[in-house]
Symmetry: C2
């Protein structure tokens, strides 16, 4: 199902995507989910896709051809650019949705679209199947698409808009690692792009495969340290009469210590 | 949507459930998801439910009344007991599924059922809407139902069948904590039951609310230590020429360092 995450921070943007696609367990392939639109000195835009691969690719093709009156290459600002991405989704919907429906397939697509056009700050959007979208804010500075749940807790715990870009890239990779471990529909290699405010060019991009030294280190170190932290946190103490710094049960009384018991009907089967 | 997790370990069983239920964001309530069937000295069985609450409660009522020829109180072994739970689900399906369908509601239920009957080892099952089920094994020693994804990574990282029960309870609580932080459809209080092999009675049960000292400690300590570990893990080094122990990019060549670029159509808009 894929997993992509992107962050809009004070220092710029971070984008990370996997590349696994599948049409069932016997049809697993690799397709890159990140497309970069770059016009050095003027604009950098990044598109991440999840959902139906055929639809994603059609939308991407539509955008690259620039069929609209104004194309991504000419959009005045990122909001207009996002509406153009929405228009592309709707164009593919008009062409394909009914045929898909005839085969019982939903028109299902989600995208993350972000970047910077000269003269404006970097911006980040999440696109929906209907072609509409929301924008990232200070209060909600990241978006996820695809298999988002496994990797969400670490983002909620540590990420803020003030986080430096490389630290945020580390955070994204850890979020991806949790997802890779728990869901086989997400897989290597990954595309990682870090964009600094006003760079207006791509300077920090890498494709991360199973031999990438940094990612291997993160996966091993994070797993080991988590295990260590887990071992260090105290186990619960059940005996309420034993003096414990953080008791699990309060001594005395039965408040909150009785389960919801099923009452055995009288006169049936074994006696008590 | 709820979150429940249970583990079948060499030393016994661990069960943990939340109690939040909702029929939309303006109809959130508390209903306990754990039901305990205990006949001291003979059997202890625990049922955890997720999905449609009306269906869960009907199944529970059906089991408590023991309408079948053999009831849970008389089942010879846990496999038979699990089939009786399946029969109860099917009975409720016969009664309710069509009416629900008329309102566009799926017959959606998932349950975890486990315990020990004297003379047999403890066993754990996951029940499906169709009334069938699977059993936990050494290779797959835990089950989750409801909002399972947020809390899965920690289970995959640390849990083994050899883990002592109290450590496993700690693991379940951490798994629940990650879920509580990332999904508002899961909420306190929680029911935690730890069962030791051949106890054939309930001795370790507690309802965990927001004042529970142990749970408060876990939530705070886990969050703080995770942040600490995150800070200690090195950020990526982009400059391939800088000597780094675990480089993100290899120096020399461009293998794997070029994004999938959208090519700007010639003759449109701004030149490069």
């Amino acid at each position: 199902m894929t997993y992509c995450v992107a962050m809009c921070l004070d220092d710029g943007l971070v984008f990370l995507s996997d590349s696994r696609t599948n049409a069932g367990v016997d049809a697993i392939s690799t397709f890159r989910k990140m497309t970069v639109f770059e016009q050095a000195g003027d604009r950098v835009m990044v598109l991440l896709t999840a959902g139906n691969l055929a639809i994603s690719q059609s939308v991407r093709q539509y955008l690259m051809e620039g069929r609209e009156q104004r194309s991504l290459w000419e959009a005045r600002d990122m909001f207009e650019a996002a509406t153009l991405v929405g228009d592309a989704i709707r164009a593919v919907h008009r062409r394909d949705a009914e045929s898909l429906k005839g085969f019982g397939i939903d028109f299902n697509i989600s995208m993350i679209f972000g970047g910077q056009i000269k003269g404006e700050r970097p911006r980040l959007f999440q696109m929906y199947s209907a072609g509409n979208f929301i924008e990232a804010t200070q209060e909600n500075c990241y978006f996820q698409i695809g298999e988002a749940k496994y990797g969400k807790p670490i983002l909620d715990r540590v990420l803020t808009p003030q986080m430096p870009l490389d630290e945020a890239a580390k955070c994204a990779l850890i979020s991806m690692d949790s997802t890779l471990k728990s869901n086989v529909s997400v897989g290597l290699p990954l595309d990682l792009l870090v964009y600094g405010v006003d760079e207006l060019a791509v300077s920090r991009f890498v494709t991360v495969d199973e031999n990438n030294a940094y990612f291997k280190m993160i996966r091993k170190a994070w797993g080991q340290r988590l295990r260590q932290v887990f071992d260090e946190v105290r186990d619960p103490v059940w005996d309420a009469s034993v003096s414990a710094e953080h008791p699990l049960r309060m001594s005395g009384g039965t408040h909150g210590s009785v389960p919801l018991y099923a009452v055995k009907p009288t006169g049936t089967g074994k006696g008590n």
